[in-house]
């Protein structure tokens, strides 16, 4: 019987996956004939890719030096997330992918797709055209059609039919994974000192980079170990004095989470496409599966990309703060992300008028931790809780 893994070694396994996406791709492809289809954030229905027999992989773990590779193609005043993703492709880091799906959620994703097709085309490339108004009946009907189109393209590429029962099975598999991660997140909420922000968010990100079955099993094993730790009543490396809701597109650069850990701040919820929002809700397991996938899309936590009831996002953040007894909101905004920047004054003013302290960090893929640490500590001080490092 193999020796039982320690918490530290399990966290390290997840960390290795997100720290080196190229190595992870090689591992996934090694000795297997499986087709791997990448997707850019966010809201691509991975269940469809899985049901088609391919492995969906999020382009969410980034090699920051690759930003430079995109310089001849993308202006430096476009967001570093897309510059880095394209740069990684140009650098050969994504050569093992068999295809790529780009959801059009902003002007940069809308235009990067053309550049990508010119400079580093994959055999299979698809623009997933999500509806960006989500209030009116036409949006749902259209989205079901768009999902059907993506399904047909995947079937053609994979040379097989996706049956309803296969899609339902994929939905169940993804729901199990989300449910398992929600348990993990709830435990993190109660006892942040055991895993810390960086590990929890690494685990969420890792789920986008590996087979869901394997990820679910690893998280289940980890949860078992965590429950034992909770019982032991030992205190972890860092003492967490401040509870925050985080908001933005992605938690980049990853060092943001290290900085929060060091500052004694726990993220108790977020609307990141690569964070809690990814796992927050499930797809109905009954009914017509494409309709269920579309239903989930409209029930997800509101983000800047979709124009809906204008106050949904501020209401959603305020609710998260109340439900999680958070002390405030930290915005983690990528420089040059127009969607977030347009929402920011409304969110800032809405939170402030509700008496919720908030602060905006502007980051880029590759921002250094020292710059972030000073700003985060200043915010922690404003909250009056200090943010004491206990490590």
């Amino acid at each position: 019987m193999p020796a039982r893994k320690t918490l530290k070694s399990m966290c390290e396994d997840f960390n290795k996956i997100v720290a080196d996406p190229v190595r992870q791709l090689k591992r996934l492809k090694s000795g297997r004939t499986i087709k791997v289809i990448g997707w850019l954030p966010t809201d691509v229905p991975e269940e469809l890719i899985h049901a088609a027999g391919a492995l969906p992989i999020g382009i969410v773990a980034l090699n920051s030096p690759a930003v430079a590779c995109s310089a001849p193609h993308l202006q430096e005043w476009s967001c570093s997330l897309m510059r880095c993703a394209l740069g990684m492709a140009l650098d050969g880091a994504l050569d093992l992918l068999n295809g790529l799906i780009i959801p059009l959620i902003c002007d940069t994703t809308r235009m990067v797709t053309g550049i990508w097709k010119q400079t580093k085309p994959f055999v299979f490339m698809d623009n997933f055209l999500l509806p960006r108004q989500i209030d009116r009946p036409s949006a749902k009907k259209y989205l079901i059609g768009e999902m059907g189109r993506l399904k047909a393209r995947l079937e053609q590429f994979m040379d097989r039919t996706i049956t309803a029962s296969e899609l339902c099975a994929s939905i169940v598999l993804y729901n199990q994974n989300r449910s398992m991660m929600r348990k993990l997140f709830a435990m993190h909420n109660r006892r942040p000192d055991i895993l810390g922000n960086r590990n929890v968010y690494n685990i969420i990100k890792a789920s986008m980079l590996m087979p869901k079955e394997l990820h679910t099993n690893m998280v289940a094993e980890l949860l078992q170990l965590l429950e034992e730790k909770v019982g032991e009543n030992k205190v972890g490396k860092y003492k967490y004095n401040v509870r925050l809701i985080l908001s933005g597109k992605v938690w980049e650069p990853p060092v943001v989470m290290d900085v929060l850990d060091q500052a004694g701040i726990v993220s108790v919820g977020d609307d990141f496409c690569t964070g809690y929002r990814y796992i927050a809700n499930d797809v109905s397991e009954t009914g017509e599966p494409l309709t269920s996938l579309a239903d989930r899309q409209f029930k997800r936590l509101p983000i800047a990309a979709f124009a809906g009831k204008s106050k949904d996002r501020i209401n959603s953040l305020t609710d998260m703060v109340k439900k999680n007894r958070a002390d405030g909101v930290l915005f983690v905004h990528l420089k040059f992300c127009e969607n977030e920047n347009f929402d920011y004054p409304m969110l800032r003013d809405g939170l402030s008028s509700a008496g919720i302290p908030n602060f905006r960090l502007e980051t880029e893929v590759g921002t250094h931790s020292e710059e972030l640490f000073a700003q985060v500590m200043a915010f922690a001080k404003v909250l009056g809780r200090g943010g004491v490092v206990n490590g």
Binding site: H73, Q75, I115
Partner: protein, 403 residues
């Protein structure tokens, strides 16, 4: 160098422009709702519903032409709207918070209509404005059409127009008037036809009308499309151009080079570029930008036709379609070279421009130049760098002509 005389039509333009703004103010006094609309929104429906359409993008361009963007934007930036956002949006938002109004105050909307065919910035800007003014916001969502529009995209768009009609009927309390829609569409068709014929005159060699003239004279096709005034204005302009042709008045008297320009102009430097090119004996004869409003509507299928025109043009198309259309225009207007403007305020036109440069060069064999700036905000205008690039470009053109 002899400068071509001003257009007589400029006087009509100024008079009609003043009347248009007066009508906007009067509309509110008469209880006619003021509707903000984007440049590629089917405004014909807004007119037919009896609303007064107002174009905040045009407001941004006018602030830019007055070289006042930095001052007005500062008020928006102080509120947390960053300088990386579209300058038109910063102007409209800044005007609300600014104590100075160099072109007058922006007209407050009672409701807002936006199509995201042009860009996502408009969607976010109008959404933010809707919140500020506490006015209803309707988004016509236009998925990108890369090659052939799919059936469900077409259905989605037509369904949204029916949702728009419902929205308007509830708001106004009146049944939608399809007869009035037909009248407005007829007027749009006529204005678009005249505008197209005017732009086509730039294909003549030497050209009596060029891109910079078109930038000055385009407000009616953008903002008055669907009215008698737009039709009248372009009839007058076309007559004047025909007169100028008879008198042999051209944009550049000794025209040597014919250029394609992509995309919008640098508004606060319209004259600067026009003079610089004229000095080099170059005339810009075509741009996708000014051709954006060359539409032709089918009165037998009005809603389907509005959808087709407003969503299947280049603004809502992918990379390859845009490049191919540029190349076709370059052939049609018989150009010698091309100028690409990487515009910080317009990601859909700027992102991909460096690859477009490479592809257009390869496919046409023609020389080109690319420069970085902002269509409205002069803080991003590196004059020395741009002059250097253009000098080098014209030297290349001159060498190639000699060889």
């Amino acid at each position: 160098m002899a400068e071509s005389p001003s257009f007589k039509t400029d006087i009509i333009f100024k008079r009609l422009m003043a009347q248009y703004y007066d009508r906007g103010i009067a509309a509110r006094e008469k209880g006619i709702p003021v509707a903000w609309v984007t440049a590629a929104f089917p405004v014909e429906i807004i007119y037919a519903a009896g609303l007064f359409p107002y174009y905040p993008e045009n407001f941004g361009a006018r602030v830019a032409t007055k070289k006042a963007v930095e001052r007005i934007s500062a008020a928006a930036e102080a509120r947390g709207y960053f300088s990386g956002l579209c300058a038109y949006a910063r102007c409209a938002i800044g005007d609300v918070y600014s104590s100075e109004h160099p072109i007058g105050e922006i007209l407050r909307p009672d409701l807002l209509f936006c199509s995201n065919a042009q860009c996502c910035s408009l969607q976010k800007w109008f959404e933010a404005a809707g919140r500020y003014y506490q006015a209803p916001f309707f988004l016509l969502d236009t998925p990108l059409i890369e090659s052939t529009p799919t059936t469900w995209i077409k259905q989605y768009l037509v369904e949204q127009l029916y949702e728009l009609l419902d929205f308007l009927e509830v708001y106004t309390g009146n049944s939608f008037d399809f007869d009035r829609l037909a009248e407005v569409i007829s007027l749009s068709n006529e204005a678009c036809r005249l505008w197209s014929e005017i732009l086509d005159m730039a294909a003549l060699k030497p050209a009596p009308f060029g891109f910079f003239d078109a930038c000055f004279h385009m407000t009616p096709i953008v903002a008055w499309r669907g009215t008698e005034e737009a039709v009248y204005y372009y009839r007058e302009l076309k007559n004047e151009l025909e007169e100028r042709l008879e008198k042999k008045i051209y944009v550049v008297p000794d025209e040597q080079y014919r250029l394609y320009f992509d995309h919008t102009p640098v508004w606060p430097r319209l004259r600067w570029f026009s003079d610089l090119f004229a000095k080099k004996k170059a005339v810009v004869v075509a741009s996708q930008y000014t051709h954006s409003w060359v539409w032709r509507f089918d009165l037998d299928r009005p809603l389907e036709s509005l959808v087709r025109n407003y969503t299947e043009g280049f603004i809502n198309r992918g990379f390859e379609y845009r490049v191919q259309q540029i190349i076709e225009m370059m052939k049609e207007f018989n150009v010698n070279a091309f100028v690409l403007f990487s515009n910080r305020s317009c990601k859909p036109s700027a992102l991909g421009l460096y690859d477009k440069y490479r592809i257009i060069s390869q496919r046409t064999g023609l020389p080109g130049v690319i420069f970085e700036a902002d269509m409205a905000d002069e803080r991003y205008f590196g004059e020395e760098d741009i002059i250097g690039r253009l000098d080098e470009f014209f030297s290349r053109l001159s060498r190639e002509k000699r060889d």
